[in-house]
Symmetry: none
Subunit: 224 residues, 2 copies
DNA sequence: GAGATATGAATGAACG
DNA sequence: CGTTCATTCATATCTC
């Protein structure tokens, strides 16, 4: 277990007292990396099982290592290698922007399958406008008089309510569409903790549901 | 030091005209941080590849940046956010339901159930705890009379201020320690958008700095 | 300028 | 295999 990472010259006094502070992650020794790299560069990029075992035994001369470590190493090595390749291709195909600097730092990653909520298709400045633009007008903070109700544990309330926090206080919101005017009066606006106001229709009905556990702030719009 | 091994393929020559040596790390501009934070806080915590590209182009208006930089930023942001939650949760759990010494809590690293991101299940508890410690009493929302100040473009404010949002309005905070009482009066409390109040010392001086791009809410504590 | 902290970058370990 | 999470390393920044 105690494969011990690198001899760190720093002085974070730890070690001794920890009873079972397992070093969870394998840190390959320089020699081991050298061997692995040379194998990879020799063309063996995806060694079969028995080859992996042989490599592992080889590496063990320089420190504890498991078959799994070797397997993962090659997998990651392949993945990363390929990705780098792709990066370069994509980068060359993308030379469209005006700025003279294209920053060639290489390496990005990802390509996510499912995302939550696209940042809209709007133009570039839409976001900075969202932040700043949202407050072009005036808002004053609503005076919330609701009493705190924190004590009751947040259990799996099987009733159809969503637990959120409004102005710092726990609040059980009905799951359906929310009538802001009926609930809070004319000029009430709910602002998500990110600073983004929740959209309502022309009748003051919330267009989207509150999200469990999130923090919102109730403010009064001076524009309405 | 021993940085051998790792064939570091990165070619960090960024745009910043570093005369010679070791400027290997991207340093996001304040405006870029603002944009990134606002995207993250708006719910896009893990943008897919094409989104990343779009974001990168947006950021490039304020300085050289690569897709990889954006990718890493979101990765780190998620990771850090998560870990923080965990630490808070662990801390609060320690205080609430355990005899003096509980040494057997040990590890549960093996099973990391949570797969998606934010407030789910376990996180709810931390939120309620966070709020509970703070909201046992009463708060009323501060009446913010500050005029909106959004028009000014987010320029290269190299002055030592931090741009944040308070009650939805842009605000340039001085970098040093902040005197809450002098700034907002006696019972003012700043609450981070996560619901967590910012600690102050007995003189009402903020114990920690505001963080660029974050959203805060100014409330009046009824306890003080 | 040393120490502490924040955070960009890298990579081992998994998941689907 | 592609993607994502967790941990670690390195450096930029802040503090005294």
């Amino acid at each position: 277990m105690s494969m011990e990472g690198r001899s760190n010259g720093s002085s974070p006094g730890d070690a001794a007292a920890a009873p079972a502070a397992v070093r969870s992650r394998w840190t390959p020794k320089p020699e081991q990396i050298l061997i692995l790299e040379s194998i990879f560069n020799s063309g063996t990029v995806n060694p079969p099982k028995d080859e992996t075992v042989r490599i592992r035994k080889l590496l063990e001369k320089f420190g504890a290592v498991s078959d799994a470590n070797v397997f993962y190493w090659f997998q990651n090595r392949r993945s990363r290698s390929r990705r780098r390749q792709r990066e370069l291709q994509a980068a060359s195909a993308l030379a469209s922007s005006s700025p003279p600097y294209s920053s060639s730092t290489a390496r990005s990653t990802s390509a996510s399958p499912s995302s939550s909520w696209p940042v809209a298709d709007e133009d570039l400045l839409s976001i900075s406008h969202r932040m700043g633009g949202f407050m072009e007008g005036n808002y004053s903070i609503f005076n919330c008089t609701k009493q705190p109700d924190q004590y009751s544990p947040i259990n799996e309330s099987i009733d159809n309510t969503i637990t959120v926090f409004i102005n710092g206080m726990r609040w059980e919101a009905p799951r359906g569409p929310l009538d802001m005017r009926a609930m809070f009066g004319q000029s009430a606006v709910l602002v998500h903790s990110s600073g983004q106001p929740l959209p309502v229709d022309e009748h003051g009905i919330l267009l989207q549901s509150l999200q469990m556990g999130e923090s919102y702030f109730l403010v009064r719009s001076l524009l309405l």
